[in-house]
Symmetry: C2
Subunit: 299 residues, 2 copies
C-alpha cells in the first residue's frame, strides 16, 4: 500500500572524518522516502526553493517517488551544514538557513488524501495536525519529533500523539517528554500519551519498541564503514514504515519485521554521504544483510 | 566443571536514588562468584582484613563457594564508597581505601591449581600473570581489566591478553586499547592482541561479542527496577563464565548461551543493593527471565 511522508527536503553540507559533501540532497522527507521506496510506493509532501537542482528531482523520480506534493516556492531551499567528530556522535551544527521551509504549510494534493499509511516527519506539531486533518482514510500514522517541539510546543505535540499509532523518537526525547530516567518506565509513560506503538531509537545500539503490551529489542547492524550518519534515523523510519505499508498489515509481528528491515536500511544509509549509498540499495540487499544480522543474534 | 576467580572482596558503601547501603558485601570477585555459583562450583582467591564480618563469610559459604583461597591479612578490608546520580550512570567515587588489597599477592591453594576454568578479575596485570603461572591444567581463561591498567601497565596487560581465551571489557576500554573510535574495528583489533573471544560490555544496551570470526549481538534485559548498578559487569561475567564452565564446553554456541545467561544474571544484580537480590536467584529464575528476553527478540 502507498505511504505518504511529510517533512523537510534540504541541501546539506556535511563534514565527517571520511570527507565532506557540499549541498548534497538531504532532509528528513528525502531520507525517509528514498528508504521507504525500497519496499512500497511513496508520495512526498515538502517544499524547496527555485534553486533546488533538477538532478535531485531526478534522483527522487528515479526511485519512483511521487513528488507532485513537493512544492517549489519562491526563494531558496532549506540549507543545513554540520560537522561530525571522530566518534560520529551528534554533529556540531555550523549553519541553518530555513529559507522557504520557514513558511512551509503542507497542502496535500487531492489524490494524496486517501493514502492509507502516513509518516509525519519532524516538523511543527501544528503542521502535523494540519496534515492529519486532511487525511481521509488513514489506516496507520507514525510521527517523529525533536527536543525543540517537546520543550516549546508540548500541548500541540500531545494532541498529535493522541491521533497517531506510532511514535519514533530517541531516548533523550523520552526523558524530555516524561521526566523519567528509566528508559523502560519512560517509554511506558509515552505510550500512555497516545501512541500504541513506541519505537525508541538508540543510535548505534539499535532500538527498543513497545508494541501494545509487548517489548521488542533489536540491535543495530554493526558496521565499521560509517561515512556520514546524517539521515540514519529517518532512513530507519523509512525502511520500517515502508516495509509495514508494503505488507498492508499492522500486527505486532509485522511491526517487528518492519523494525528489523528499517534497522538494516539505516545501516546502509550511514555508509555513504547523503543518499549516495541508500539510493543504490535493493530489497535483496536488505534481505541479505538482515539474514546476516539475524545470524548475529542467534544463540 | 569448577571455576576459579581471583579478584577483590570489599566493603562497599553505596548511595543511589533508591537509598543507601553502608559497608555491604562488594568487590569484583564477590559479585562474580555469587553469580557463577548459580551454575557451577566456584573457588575464590582474594584477601580481606581481620574486620571482615563473618556474616559475609557465611553468605559466600551458603552459595557453596570454596573460600579456602580467601586470605585474611592483618589490617582492614578494602573499602569503596560511591554515589550514583538520577540516571544510574557511572558513579562518583567518594572514597577508596585499598587497605589489605594494596598488598594482595594471589597464592593459590594447591588444590586450586588444576581448576579448568579461570576468571581473572580486574587486578594488576602482574598479579594476573602470577595467577596464570600457577595454573596447571587450564582449559579456559577469561580476563577483565580497566582504564587504569590499560594506561599504566599496557605491556603487562598485553602479555596477559596473549595467554587468555576471552577478554571482557567495555567500549571505552576498547577505545583506550586501540585508539579506534569504531566499536567493531576496535573490537577486531583487540582480538588481534590475543583473546580469540572478546566480549564488549555496553551497559544498559547489552553486549557485542567477537567469537573467532563470528559476531554476536545481545541486548540487555530491560528493567525499570534499577536499585544499585554496582557489580553489574562482574555478575554478567560471573553468570557467563559460570554457565560456560557448567557446560564444560567452549564452542561458539555455548559461549553465546553463556553471554545470554550472564546478561540475565546481571539484570537481577542491579535490582538490589550489593548481592541482596543476586544471592536469592536460582537457575530457574534465570531460565524464566531468559525465556522472556528471548521473546522480546523474536521477529
Amino acid at each position: 500500500m502507498s505511504l505518504l511522508v511529510v517533512g523537510s527536503v534540504a541541501l546539506d553540507t556535511v563534514h565527517t572524518p571520511k570527507g565532506s559533501l557540499v549541498e548534497g540532497l538531504g532532509g528528513s522527507a528525502t531520507y525517509f522516502s528514498v528508504a521507504a521506496s525500497i519496499f512500497t510506493p511513496v508520495k512526498l509532501v515538502g517544499v524547496v526553493g527555485g534553486d533546488f537542482p533538477t538532478e535531485h528531482i531526478d534522483v527522487l523520480r528515479s526511485r519512483g517517488i511521487d513528488i507532485d506534493g513537493l512544492h517549489t516556492a519562491e526563494g531558496k531551499t532549506f540549507r543545513w551544514s554540520g560537522r561530525y567528530g571522530e566518534d560520529f556522535g551528534d554533529p556540531e551544527t555550523l549553519d541553518t538557513q530555513l529559507n522557504v521551509f520557514a513558511e512551509f504549510s503542507p497542502q496535500l494534493p487531492e489524490k494524496y488524501k486517501k493514502t492509507p499509511f502516513l509518516f509525519l516527519g519532524n516538523i511543527h506539531p501544528q503542521l502535523q495536525l494540519q496534515v492529519l486533518d486532511q487525511m481521509q482514510s488513514l489506516k496507520f500514522a507514525a510521527v517523529d519529533t525533536m527536543n525543540f517541539w517537546i520543550e516549546r510546543e508540548r500541548e500541540l505535540l500531545l494532541a498529535v500523539f493522541k491521533r497517531i499509532d506510532m511514535a519514533v523518537i530517541n531516548e533523550l526525547e523520552v526523558r524530555l517528554l516524561t521526566g523519567l530516567r528509566s528508559p523502560l518506565a519512560g517509554a511506558k509513560k509515552v505510550q500512555q500519551m497516545g501512541p500504541e506503538i513506541l519505537v525508541v531509537k538508540r543510535g548505534a545500539y539499535g532500538s527498543m519498541a513497545l508494541i501494545g503490551d509487548e517489548i521488542f529489542l533489536f540491535p543495530a547492524y554493526p558496521t565499521d564503514d560509517v561515512t556520514d550518519p546524517t539521515g540514519a534515523g529517518d532512513s530507519f523510519a523509512g525502511g520500517m514504515v515502508g516495509y509495514i505499508a508494503s505488507q498492508n498489515d499492522v500486527s505486532p509481528s509485522t511491526i517487528k519485521r518492519g523494525i528489523a528491515h528499517g534497522t538494516v536500511v539505516g545501516s546502509f544509509c550511514v555508509e555513504g554521504f547523503s543518499i549516495q549509498k541508500l539510493e543504490k540499495i535493493t530489497k535483496d540487499d536488505v534481505e541479505k544483510r538482515l539474514d546476516a544480522l539475524r545470524k548475529m543474534m542467534e544463540f
